[in-house]
């Protein structure tokens, strides 16, 4: 790299470091994104691990004390629970279970005892609770049926012509695929967000402030200018990525992963791997954002273009984490690296070939964009906005 290029990189970095907007853009994301992710994981864990007690109304509970006891042992209680502190507000679901007056006598006679479930089935929020109650009632009914058969000397298994055995092959880590995908995606997206403001400032901003024409009237080649800008923006992206990883390392250690059955541990090996794999993505992010910003006539125009353009890597990343069409996506930028990282975090072997090819494609796209930029800086239309 020539002295002039180094001089320009140094100037770009000094200029950028003094630009509050550029620095804050990276910082906000680096601190904000991992914390938001943590908040999401906490919510998710809360929902997955402790099904809350379901409070319903039961009419005539004394008619079927055994059923009521069975339900409450499964966490479905009538009105107020004994464990609950007096005066605490109880969230009673709008579900009514009516036990018929002749329940006890019918049960004793060995004929069907009637229980009526009253609820609004169109209410989405009640669906889960209704299904849970139905399932428990059926289980209780089956249990009673078996007891009756045994009392009559019949093996209850005659009532089960098919015995279904389900073997779930999913390991805790593979179940975690989507969550891991989202977590990794927010990390790698840092290279796009952190360098974005600088990319706009140093291209569209530079022209808006009329310093681009001045720079071009000095004895530097357009490729030197383009390279220095790419290096500066890439560096910003990588610093943003590193910060995001460091914040994630601390934030994720507070998430009670054991309750999910898998863990996302951001250790130094992962950070190193992420930085290495993220580098081509950061270079491409820099090239893409600079290219688009150079085409825009003003800072504002560049901002609105970039918001749209940044949907593209976002979609690639989403597709990778949701496992949509993984066959082609594994060769593409962002999604390819992301899939490799997810494999790595799951503790599997890194798909070397796939990663190498997608990284090469990423770099090839970067080179094409850099070449386009270098050409565009020779165009009067671009430089003077004619």
């Amino acid at each position: 790299m020539s002295n002039k290029t180094i001089t320009m990189i140094r100037k770009e970095l000094i200029d950028a470091a003094r630009d509050k907007r550029s620095v804050m853009a990276g910082l906000y994301y680096a601190v904000g994104a991992p914390l938001l992710m943590c908040g999401m994981f906490f919510m998710l864990i809360g929902q997955l691990t402790s099904p809350e007690d379901l409070n319903i109304n039961i009419n005539n509970p004394q008619g079927a004390p055994d059923l009521v006891k069975y339900l409450s042992s499964k966490g479905i209680t009538h009105g107020k629970n004994e464990d609950q502190v007096e005066g605490e507000k109880v969230d009673t679901k709008d579900i009514l279970l009516i036990i018929s007056d002749d329940y006890a006598s019918n049960m004793a006679k060995g004929i069907s005892a009637e229980v009526t479930l009253v609820a609004d089935a169109s209410n989405e929020k009640l669906q889960k609770s209704i299904r849970r109650l139905e399932k428990r009632l059926q289980q209780y009914s089956a249990e009673m049926g078996s007891l009756r058969l045994i009392a009559r000397g019949i093996d209850p298994r005659v009532m089960q012509p098919i015995k279904l055995n389900v073997e779930d092959q999913a390991t805790p880590d593979s179940k975690a695929g989507m969550i891991l995908g989202i977590a990794t995606m927010t990390m790698i997206y840092a290279v796009f967000i952190s360098g974005m403001n600088l990319a706009i400032d140093t291209s569209a901003g530079e022209r808006e402030r009329n310093s681009l024409a001045l720079l071009l009237s000095h004895p530097v080649s357009t490729s030197q200018i383009v390279i220095s800008k790419i290096v500066a923006v890439t560096l910003f992206g990588m610093i943003g990525l590193l910060l995001t990883l460091i914040v994630s390392k601390f934030a994720y250690s507070f998430v009670p992963w054991q309750e999910l059955g898998f863990s996302v541990s951001v250790n130094s090996r992962f950070i190193g791997m992420m930085m290495l794999i993220g580098l081509p993505v950061a270079i491409m992010a820099a090239c893409l954002q600079l290219f688009v910003s150079f085409l825009a006539k003003s800072f504002k125009e560049a901002q609105s273009y970039l918001t749209i353009v940044l949907m593209l890597p976002m979609m690639l990343a989403m597709a990778a984490s949701y496992d949509i069409a993984p066959e082609t996506l594994q060769w593409l930028p962002v999604s390819g690296q992301l899939q490799a990282l997810i494999e790595f975090i799951k503790g599997r072997e890194l798909p070397g070939m796939q990663l190498a090819i997608s990284s090469l494609i990423t770099l090839a796209i970067s080179a094409a964009l850099a070449f386009g930029m270098q050409k565009s800086l020779k165009s009067e239309k671009i430089v003077f906005g004619l």
Partner: protein
Amino acid sequence: MIQVSNLSKRIGDVQALNDLSFSALDGQITGLLGPNGAGKTTCLRTVFGLLKPDNGFAEIDGINIAKSPVAAKQQLGLFPDPFGLYERLTPREYISYFAELNGLSRSDAKHATSSVIEKLHLADIADRQCKGFSQGQRMKTALAQAIVHQPTNIVLDEPTRGLDVMSTRVLRDILRDLKNQGHCVLFSSHVMQEVAALCDQVIVMAEGRVVAVGSPDGLCQQTGKASLEDAFIQLIGTDEGIAA
């Protein structure tokens, strides 16, 4: 020396330059005088290779700008319009940045910057960020950038615009100094007094063409007018776009 031969350039529907030829010699101040829209800025941008002429060429010290842009630009210093300052850099950083871009080593650039800061009396603002500078301070910073690497040719685009009397005087003194050191100074202007006070040679431009060339006195004699202003109006045939 800056030599421009048969330059033609069309921008959109406007023939901005129309077979323009002139030369600006070393050790002289050459003024490019013309009404607004005469093609002065287009001409200077073509000299720097920022615009490609449809026809003709520009040479800096005999180097064709289109063929070897980097070598040709090495011989040029530009005082642009608008200034194009980096607001977050201090003048010292700004000046030495451009010195380094012109091939000076880091330490040489520092020395050159210090001496140009002294020369232009910039010391009091040299280490403050350019944001919020007055027009005069901006002018001095931009000028320092143009001359820090001691180019043989210095090109100034409308240098006195928006300057007060003191700043204008500083600028004039600097330009005369440069001339006496043997530099070639080329500036564009539409201000008569400026041109009359400074120039050894005046190139009168209108509609992208050279209308007349000569010293201020020579132009007056040629047209038989007493002042350069009257001579100018006589030459371009209208008084549109002229500042007295």
